[in-house]
Each structure stands twice: as structure tokens, then as C-alpha cells.
Symmetry: C2
Subunit: 382 residues, 2 copies
């Protein structure tokens, strides 16, 4: 299959390099920025690629919603398969692209957009054909996992853990999308779309890791607990879709706790298959490129769909899930939440709440923070 | 796709039940033992299935080499796809079946034969198309993992752990294939064939868990180590294939140590993808059936091969791998092995050897046992 790559950054370079060695796949052109076309196979106009009858598939690894959406749409409309690593694109326009691909009889796959090298969406798409997916979850952001792991293994504080992650290239100069949980949320959105044909697009509950302190971590560790930023998604028995991201405190023997450094862990529970856990590198040039190239191989073998053409957008309803929450807040707010147990620690109160709906807890903390309080919270593992 | 199932035991029942609900797949007949054909779709003659032009694929879940080999060969020869969960069959005759399937242009897949629900061979077959597999490994026998986990969590001795596993249906009345490591060995043979187009068929190094005692386990735990029965396979830089099974002592924070109860963990290291770890239920009616049905879906999508038709049989050469070994043996044999460190423990000596070739260590212990000595050994995690 003859392939054109849109974008020549970290992942694009990796894909081009892998295509040189992959039997059955051939690189014919790479879309680069104007002025960067210094080699024969590099082009600067998307039209050259879309109008090239030789190109059978495009790989979009530019990132961002536009012009990626226009380019991928144009390629699909021209009857070319498309593979992307771009979670923002699929979260924003996946259903339209899936529909267009179906109309044109071409493939649209995006494994690399969720979990890097971890073959999560690929296996989920295959499983969903014959099994009912009861729940989805895991650790889908390597940056925050690296930071939390550093804080727990070396007692580092949040700012130093972030600096270390940036120095090693695991965090960007503006780390907001990672540390806020937004990056992980986009990935669970895609996983829900694959598992349930429903792309959640509002009603999210999102808590990142920005509030955790070295003192919090020391406190968890004294209780034998490990902190991870965890995503969860699923469908309740009455068909309500839930999708949320929040810190979770786990026992040291839980599988999530063994996910170290910048690794990702994705899991799903199939009614028949049971729990399936997949672990690997969630980012990086060659890990991400390997997922892109696997999708190309999968298209060669005949696979076309990852998201169904009739996938619809829905609001998430996270009131269907309940958790008990560990909370650290100012001592004078010790009565502001329904604690099942609590203890005073100087000017702070640390406690564990009764079971609360996820939406309820996130809203309560938002209100406390709006009043100026510094609050950290994390769900207790069930 | 219209499917006939050969065998109606634990897994066969599960496959039939899943086929009733799987869109695009339809059960047309089940081969049962003479006298068991009490329902219209049940047949007792393989010829009825092979000669039925309606049947497009067969699922072989009878177990054993014969008559499974004759039946699957006949089905492939008649132009029907074949999916099997039978590791003994594929280990014995995989290359012939792969070649026959290729000649007839039909699919021959066997994910369920290695790791139950864990999608190991499926992902390995896809990865190998565009990535070089540097090594394979993991925990591929749920029975022994359950027993080792019980011994370590409750201080149970070997005999009680085996009884418990048998009572829960995790171990068979004759547990030899599991506890000797043979079952795990067959699985790593299949994984090597998928990854390297070479089916190792002799030269194995095989050590199970039969020699471990409750006192050994207490000793590991006092050092913070966890015992698992681990498989390893791969190809050395000069093209020598290795494949072996032996107990391994791991740190409590290693991913293998978090594999609890009867779960399996499979992993591979891709030159591009990095480490990919897959965890799930390695046996059981519906987990195994789910892998069979995923293979059927994969055939519907166009996949045909898991083992290449030119896969060759080779002898494994485990002299290319070295490990340091933990050993417990009689105190009067304390000089029988090249220990880097050792301590006397009553009538016993416990120590850790210098690095030794896997073949060398297994041969040395065999010789000591031939002399009547009770010896336990396990590789130290690198």
C-alpha cells in the first residue's frame, strides 16, 4: 500500500523511517511546511497528495484540529484510507470522519491517538464485535504518571517533578493539557466511542494532579497507598454513558501501582473475556509510530472501522458512579464534606468521605475552591 | 460467516453460546461424540461438516493431537477457515496446517492456544509485520500462578496449594503438564513461531514449580522477593532461537509480581514499540471462547495468517542466555555450584550463583538430582 505522511515532526519522522522497512507498505510523499521541501519525496501542498492517484492511504501526524480535519476529510473524500495519531482531531470530528470513510469504502483508524504503542483501541474495536464491554479504564497519560511516580519514589515536590519531566521531554513547556487531565479525558472519549458507538462530548468530571503536594504523598505512603491519575468510562445498565478522570489512591499490590515512569495502562472488562489489561509506552517517536504502522497493516488486511459511522455524540452522566474520596482541606472546613473518617493534621484536615456520586464530589470541591480553599481529593480504589 | 464447532466441552459450549449473539457469525453445526447428538444442529461425523458446502469455517476445541489434526487438515483441505484453541495441535503440526491454509487461501488462527483471553498471538502477529521482536516472555500458566500466589499470600505448602487449585477447577486431576512447565513451554513455542517463523521443537530448558516448599517461599518473602513461573523466548543476534521455562524471583514492584491468582501476563519487546504487556484470564470457558470468536472476526476482516507457511522447525539453543540463580540444596553440596554468595540454614544451603548459561544450570541441577539431592532453583530477575 502506498502511503503519504502529513507532518514530519517527532512521530512523522518515526513513521517515515518505519515505512522504509515495512514489507507491503511504501512511503510516496511527506507533507512538510513551506520551505522545508528539501528532498524529492517532500511536498508542501495537500492538493498534490490528495490528487495523486498513486497514494492509497494518508497518515496524519500534524496534531491540532485544523488544518488536520480539512486534510483528512479531503483524503477520505478522494478515496484514500486515513490513519491518525491525533486525539484532538478524533475527539472533535471522529463521527464525521468515520461516516465519510464508510461512504467512500475506505479505512479510518486511530490507535495511536489513545495510549501510544499500547494496542488499546485496536483490541477494543475487535473485542466489541463479539463481546459486551462492561467498563473501560486505566492510566492514559504518561506525563502525569511519570510525575506521580517521581514524587512517590523520591519524595520530590510537584514543581520539581514537573521540571524533571520537562527536562526529559516527557512534559511540554505548557503542561496544562497533561496535568489537568484533559489529555487523558480525550483518550477515554475515544475509547467510549469505540466501545459504545457514543462519543461523550460534555458532562465530564475532570480533576488532574495540580493540587497534590509532597506532604500529601508522604501521607499516602505512610498508609501503603499509591496515587495514580486514572480514567474511567462505561455505560450504566440503563444506557447512561460515563467518562471521567480523577486521581485514585490504590493499594501497592494493584496492577495500576506497578505502572511506572511514563508508561500507560489501558484496561477493559468484557462480559466474556473478563479483564484485559494492556501496558506500554504511551508516547514517544517510535512507540507512537509503531501504532500508526500497525493500523496501516490492519487496513492492508481488510479492516476499515474503529469508530462506527453511526457513532453519536452524547453528554456523559457521571452521577451514575459513586466513590469514597480521600480529601485534604483546611481544618476549618472539616465539616464541609460528609466524612466517614477524618483526622486533623495541624491546620489541615485529612479524611475519607462516605460514598458520593462523582458529579457531586467534583461540584462540591469546585465550590470550596471558588471560596478560596486549597483542596486535594482522590477516589479510593474499590 | 457460517461456522461449525468441533467439540462441545467447556470451551466449545462457550463458543457456541457466543456465536448465537455475534453479528456476522452464525453457528451451523457442532461435532459431538456419538450418542450425544440430541439437538438438530449436533452432528457426530466430521465428514458431514467437511462436506457441508455451507460451512465456511471450523473451530477446533477438542484438544489433543488426534483426531484434531486429521479433522482440521480435512477442513482446510476442503477450503474452510480454521480457528483452534489447541496448543498441543499447533505445537505438533502448526507448520503443516499453516502451509495447507496458505495453499487453499483460507485462514488458520490460534490465539486462544496461548494465553486464553489475552490477545497475545493476535497482537504479536500484527506487530511482527512492521517491527522486529527483540524478546518474548511472561507468565503463561494460570494454574501454577494461582498456586504460587496462594503459597505466598497464605503461607500454604505446595500440596495444599495444589489441592486448592484442583478444588476450584484451576488444576486438573493430573496436574503434571501445568506444574512441570510443559503447558507454558508449548505456549512460548507458539509465540516463537509467530514472532520468528521458527517453531522450536527440541533443546528446551524446562523447570516447573514442583520443588518449591513453604520454607523456600518464607525465605523469599523475608527478602522482599516474589516467585513466578516465567517463560522466555527470543532470537540472539546471531540468529539462535531460545525458549525456556523456569521459576524466577522478582522484586515485589515488578509487573510480573502484580499478576495475581490464575491470570496470565504476556509480553514482547518490539524494536520500535518498546515493551508491550498484556494481562488477562489465561483459561476458562468464556475467556478462551472470546479469543476464538475474536479470531473468527479477524478472519471475516480478511486476516489469514498467524504462523507463516514457511515456518520451520529448529532446535532451541538456551546456552545464549545467562542468569544468576537462587538455589536451595543440601548443605553438603554447598560447593557443587559456583555460588557468588551463600548461607547455611540448618541442613540446607541457600545461595545465589554467578551468572550461568541456562542450559548449563539446568544440566547441573539434573545431575545433582540424579544423585538423589533435593534441589530448588529459580533465576534472579535481571
Amino acid at each position: 500500500m502506498k502511503v503519504s505522511v502529513l507532518g514530519y515532526g517527532t512521530v512523522g519522522f518515526g513513521v517515515c523511517s518505519m515505512l522504509e522497512k515495512a514489507p507491503g507498505l511504501e512511503l510516496v510523499s511527506v507533507l512538510v511546511r513551506p520551505g522545508k521541501a528539501d528532498k524529492p519525496f517532500k511536498v508542501t501542498s495537500i492538493d498534490e497528495i490528495v490528487n495523486d492517484p498513486e497514494v492509497e492511504a494518508v497518515v496524519e501526524v500534524m496534531g491540532g484540529v485544523e488544518p488536520a480535519y480539512s486534510y483528512v476529510s479531503a483524503a477520505l473524500a478522494a478515496g484514500k484510507h486515513a490513519v491518525t495519531s491525533n486525539k484532538a482531531l478524533v475527539a472533535a470530528h471522529g463521527p464525521e470522519l468515520a461516516k465519510l470513510a464508510k461512504e467512500k469504502g475506505v479505512g479510518f483508524l486511530f490507535s495511536a491517538a489513545c495510549g501510544g504503542a499500547v494496542p488499546f483501541l485496536h483490541n477494543l474495536a475487535l473485542a466489541v464485535e463479539s463481546d459486551r464491554i462492561l467498563s473501560l479504564g486505566g492510566i492514559l497519560n504518561g506525563t502525569t504518571n511519570f510525575m506521580l511516580d517521581s514524587m512517590q519514589r523520591s519524595g520530590m515536590d510537584y514543581a520539581d517533578a514537573l521540571k524533571e519531566a520537562q527536562a526529559l521531554g516527557y512534559a511540554e513547556a505548557d503542561p496544562t493539557a497533561d496535568v489537568s487531565g484533559l489529555d487523558a479525558l480525550r483518550k477515554i472519549m475515544l475509547a467510549c466511542a469505540v466501545a459504545y458507538d457514543k462519543l461523550p462530548c460534555e458532562g465530564f468530571s475532570l480533576e488532574g494532579i495540580e493540587s497534590v503536594t509532597a506532604a500529601d504523598v508522604a501521607h499516602f505512603q505512610s498508609k501503603g497507598l499509591v496515587l495514580r491519575l486514572v480514567v474511567r468510562g462505561g455505560e450504566s445498565e440503563d444506557g447512561k454513558l460515563y467518562a471521567f478522570v480523577q486521581p485514585v489512591l490504590l493499594s501497592a499490590s494493584s496492577p495500576e501501582a506497578s505502572v511506572l515512569k511514563n508508561f500507560n495502562m489501558a484496561k477493559y472488562r468484557g462480559e466474556n473475556a473478563g479483564d484485559i489489561v494492556l501496558i506500554g509506552q504511551g508516547a514517544g517517536r517510535y512507540p507512537t509510530a509503531s501504532a500508526v504502522v500497525r493500523d496501516l497493516s490492519d487496513i492492508v488486511h481488510g479492516r476499515r472501522e474503529m469508530m462506527k459511522p453511526d457513532c453519536v455524540r452524547v453528554a456523559a452522566d457521571n452521577s451514575v458512579c459513586e466513590c469514597r474520596y480521600y480529601v485534604r482541606l483546611p481544618a476549618d472546613l472539616a465539616d464541609a464534606l460528609p466524612f466517614a473518617e477524618k483526622e486533623l493534621d495541624g491546620a489541615l484536615c485529612r479524611g475519607v468521605t462516605e460514598a458520593l456520586a462523582v458529579t457531586d464530589m467534583h461540584a462540591r470541591v469546585k465550590a470550596l475552591r471558588a471560596g478560596g480553599a486549597a483542596v486535594f481529593f482522590a477516589a479510593m480504589e474499590e
